[in-house]
């Protein structure tokens, strides 16, 4: 049946149109493939990369010990950074101007000085304070502890952690602000106190905003820990330095360190992906299965999809 006598020319089946051609993408793919091939050939044929030495030292005990130190340092500094960051962010949003001001001052100081300087400072803290005493300033002393517990590792952990707290606090604050004011009002109208509201209602919802940059910070921290090599903490980088100082195989050992940093970064990225997915679930309001896994996202790249 047709109206007005015109025969409908629209077929009932799905559209199968000729796709738009993208010659530019193919040209770019050719260029990239060529460059990739050139780099691969160079790395495979240039003997000075010394791949056998890379393989030899890849699982060398000194290197693995250094890797463990790097991981411990990353984890402990990030733990200090995250806990400190949440505290500083909550303080910064406090109605008490002195509390908010203290937080501001902390952030101003620790963001305003280079972290390398802070690391060296903590290493020399015993020169400034031969012993820590607890008591009233300029008054009687209640007790004291030796600063001997500040080893290179602890100095590095404090410096990196306290510095990180300043950056994390800004990330957490952005997350807290991103949560609608109505959530706080609803919680308050139900008789929840300020702290309970923060812990149960605001922070869990701020996570969606906080997690991605925190993953970024963690990956950044993994590599920033290499700065502690200046105070002779045997992390991954310093371990390789110890070895190449003896055998002069600088490039292969730096390759060893780089490979390990890349591996750990990859693992952290995957962890971040799943964490993000976990905190996105209520926002998207669907079951986990409906969200793609990271490798499915990878195969979504236009060139791979056909």
């Amino acid at each position: 049946m047709t109206e007005g006598g015109a025969v409908s020319a629209v077929p009932p089946d799905d559209i199968r149109a000729v796709p738009v051609r993208h010659p530019g993408r193919w040209a770019a793919a050719v260029v990239i493939a060529f460059l990739g091939y050139a780099v691969a050939v160079s790395m495979a044929t240039n003997k000075r990369w010394e791949w056998s030495i890379v393989g030899h030292y890849f699982t060398w005990p000194t290197i693995l010990d250094g890797l463990v130190t790097t991981l411990e340092l990353t984890a402990s500094a990030m733990a200090i950074g995250i806990v400190g960051g949440v505290m500083l962010a909550v303080m910064r949003l406090s109605p008490n101007p002195l509390v908010a001001g203290a937080s501001w001052l902390y952030i101003w100081f620790f963001r305003g000085t280079p972290v390398l300087v802070q690391i060296i400072f903590w290493d020399y803290i015993s020169a400034v304070y031969p012993h820590f005493a607890i008591g009233i300033p300029l008054g009687p002393e209640v007790g004291h502890v030796s600063v001997a517990f500040i080893t290179g590792f602890v100095a590095g952990m404090f410096a990196l952690g306290f510095n990180e707290a300043a950056y994390m606090s800004e990330i957490v604050r952005a997350g807290i602000i991103s949560v609608d004011e109505g959530q706080t009002e609803a919680a308050q109208s139900l008789g929840m106190t300020r702290l309970l509201t923060m812990r149960r209602i605001v922070l869990p919802q701020a996570m969606r905003v906080i997690i991605p940059p925190t993953g970024n910070e963690t990956i950044g921290m993994l590599k920033t820990t290499s700065l502690v090599s200046v105070i002779a903490v045997t992390d991954l980088l310093y371990a390789t330095q110890i070895i190449y100082a003896a055998n002069y195989e600088i490039i292969p050992l730096l390759v060893v360190a780089s490979l390990w940093y890349l591996i750990v970064t990859t693992v952290l990225s995957i962890g971040q992906y799943y964490l993000e997915r976990h905190y996105a679930r209520s926002a998207r309001g669907q079951q986990a299965g409906a969200i793609q896994t990271w490798w499915q996202n990878l195969t979504d790249l236009p060139l791979l999809r056909r």
Binding site: D180, G182, Q183, E185, A186, A187, Q188, S189, L190, G191, M192, T193, R194, L196, R200, I201, P204, Q205, R281, S282, A283, R284, G285, Q286
Partner: protein, 253 residues
């Protein structure tokens, strides 16, 4: 008998802008008061003052005979500490225009959160009570849905159940149907009507004239921070005495 809500000369300023210029109102136990008026008239600010989401600048406000936000010692007013304000809020339920359900919790988790965390009710008891409340607003199949998967009308009904879970003696509704699609307004009004029939004391800011006429015991018309007229809804809404009430009603009806 003391009034459930009593306002005497309540004034509120935001900066230099005075939004409440001396409000005198009284709601008795079991009554439903509907507050009407153009936007910017101060009606939302007024009900937010009742549970101290806004601090009043002048006058006195009592809920069930107790001052809101202050304690009177001799002739001096003392601000109540956070904890005290929070405790008093547990007795006053509030439903918001934008629902404000907790986005990271399911419908049931929204309802049991405050009973469990604030009133320290045992989780099992809170769950069975929460299910009963969700059933009563017609959401027995939505316990485990997140708010983002519910329609506006369903979200608002969860919000009503959430407020009721604290067993409040007074319920405040801040334009509960204004953010809803027209076909969803009825289901929320039905839930409110049932609540009124059960004897709940309610203060409702609304634009729903039908609801005010049918369910309300008192209708209040506010404009520019003052009460223009108040009384029996069938009088105020059908035969208003004031020119401003008349012109407002002619616009919305």
């Amino acid at each position: 008998m003391t009034a459930m809500v009593k306002a005497e000369g309540v004034r509120k300023r935001f900066g230099r802008l005075e939004v409440l210029k001396g409000i005198n109102l009284e709601v008795q136990l079991g009554q439903v008061m509907c507050i009407l008026g153009p936007s910017g008239s101060g009606k939302t600010t007024f009900i937010r003052c009742i549970n101290h989401l806004e601090k009043i600048n002048g006058g006195r406000l009592w809920v069930d005979g107790e001052l809101v936000g202050y304690r009177q010692v001799a002739d001096k007013l003392h601000e109540l500490p956070d904890r005290e304000v929070a405790r008093k809020r547990t007795e006053i339920g509030m439903v918001f225009q934008r629902f404000n359900l907790f986005g990271h919790m399911t419908a049931l988790e929204n309802v049991i959160e405050a009973p469990v965390r604030v009133k320290k009710v045992a989780k099992d008891d809170a769950v069975s009570e929460g299910k009963r409340l969700l059933d009563s607003v017609g959401l027995s199949d939505k316990y485990d849905e997140y708010p983002s998967r519910l329609s506006g009308g369903q979200q608002q009904r969860v919000a009503i159940a959430r407020a009721l879970a604290m067993h409040p003696k007074l319920m405040l509704f801040d334009e509960p149907t204004s953010a809803l699609d027209p076909e969803l307004v009825g289901e929320v009004l039905d839930a409110m009507r049932r609540l009124a029939n059960e004897g709940m004391t309610m203060v409702v800011v609304t634009h729903e004239m039908g609801f005010a006429r049918e369910v309300g015991d008192i209708a209040v018309f506010m404009d520019d921070g003052v009460v223009i007229e108040s009384g029996d809804p069938r009088e105020v809404l059908v035969n208003p005495q004031h020119e401003r009430t008349r012109s407002f009603l002619s616009k919305v009806l």
